[in-house]
Symmetry: D2
Subunit: 176 residues, 4 copies
């Protein structure tokens, strides 16, 4: 089949983080997630999240405000659980296992803050060969020298979005 | 939040069946799957499939030929495995478990032909509360009287598409 | 490594069915499940179930009464949810997805009664290449000629147990 | 039901790590995994692993040498893929998703070395409320203050085993 005829698919970037951020940083975390979503959509990326509240909703809101497409990979079986900024809800029925789909469906991942659920998604992302950009999130270091995908720590949402897009483009070229 | 402001989401209808139909019926099965996809897209539905070949590709091709949106829920971790008629590929990394997502993400399911994988999807669909329309597919009957979602056998692709759409609309009203 | 030195593993037979049987047949279903468990354990098999109530508990009780080993593959994350006749609880955290593990971990499957969850397990069992023995359970027929594993309908619990053991032994010989 | 009549279940401790350790530390990692398995079995614990090679096999070998019970939660559908030191193989058919079951089925987790797959298991363990003891494994720190389960770094296999057993006992008391 003539592969040239196929439209290039936009990069999918997952934004992961706490569904209900708490503590003194909560407000900043949500602002950053929204700005990451906005910057990704401006650059033409599709934003993938877990479809619920907190960081997921903020990133989706940001992306939609820039006219972007947002995919929400929900843990439950009911698409109406998606926040209102999800344009394409995917009700999975998978429970905890849906976290694997959030990161695997994306070409690169941005973690904004986050607790244990986010750490598990970071681990799954690396396991599935996806680079992770971390903004005020987990520090993860191996005691051994490892190749492959990495966690890249950044300081602000713009840097997070642009680095994720570059990593996604590089992964595409490498065929992964 | 102002729910009225939200666009109504189009119904999602999953089309399931063999990734590589064989035997004397193979040609007819693929034609029917394509026509089911076409009719669903004409009615404004989004067509969900497993994103690979055979019935999945035929249904997606039909839907795209009518300008529809097609979601492909892939078993592997690489979105480029999707057939060329998938507009929104979701690489899950789930293997066999992705079948649960195909049927759960939809409001109703159409089975066209199919072998054991399709039977497992029919069972999962009913388990998750989704009605199934069966076109030249499995006959499934309980020895006990059961309520809830059912398998509806039909004789042609148009009937399959229109019944699936009616069942999806009724499920929406029932809040399931 | 010297394969002869390894103890032969006992066959694993899954018993699946309703966690809360209702209707006029409920009592008989539970009696049959218990007798299936008993006969399987007498023959030296390990009985695998979903670890909860109803048919799962009855089959486990029967197996334990004959001194057998019972494995309970639980949907939740807490092993204490297992019924008291489970000797080896496996808390999976998988929710609905645990059904795949129940049937895949076994060499053959016995379905006693059952509703939609049981049908999904029957479908998954066939999909994973496991034969299914059905006792007062689902009738499932393809409109197409298919090879591979099958559903075998039987009339009493003894026949169910002995046929499941023969099918498991044959599957072992075939290397599946 | 008379709960007193029920035998106390032994603690289940998962040992996770690389299926094929490489590099200058590989030999030491395997020795340590074997010693962790041995110490756990001596203390009466059941050792849970992913059932394949490397750290999984070494831990199982150690446990069996002390007369212990070993459970192997396999990714594939064929129980014969388990290493020869697995006494209870569970073929899941889950692929990558089986990692969730390895850690959820245990009361506490010991990580010995490990690459990205191990990191994903550490994240999933914490997500599911299981404490993790890390021996020459990942350093993981949040930039935020978090309660709940933690990673505990230790220096030798004996300390790893004894701390894991204490954490499992404490978790049992807390009802988690």
């Amino acid at each position: 089949m003539p592969e040239v005829a196929r439209d290039p698919r936009p990069p999918y970037i997952a934004v992961i983080g706490d569904g209900e951020p708490r503590g003194p940083d909560a407000h900043r975390i949500l602002e950053w997630a929204e700005e990451v979503g906005l910057e990704l959509a401006r650059a033409g990326a599709t934003v993938v999240t877990g479809g619920l509240g907190g960081v997921m909703e903020a990133a989706s809101r940001g992306a939609r405000s820039a006219g972007g497409v947002t995919i929400g990979i929900l843990p439950g079986a009911d698409a109406s659980e998606a926040n209102e900024f999800v344009s394409i809800p995917i009700a999975t029925g998978l429970g905890v296992v849906r976290n694997l789909v959030v990161v695997t469906s994306a070409n690169a991942v941005v973690a904004v803050g986050g607790r244990h659920g986010t750490l598990s998604e970071i681990g799954l992302a690396l396991r599935m060969g996806r680079h992770v950009v971390a903004l005020s999130s987990w520090r993860v270091e191996s005691e051994h020298r490892l190749g492959g995908p990495r966690i890249h720590r950044v300081r602000d949402p713009r840097e997070a979005a642009s680095l994720a897009l570059r990593l996604a483009a590089a992964a595409e070229l490498n065929g992964s």
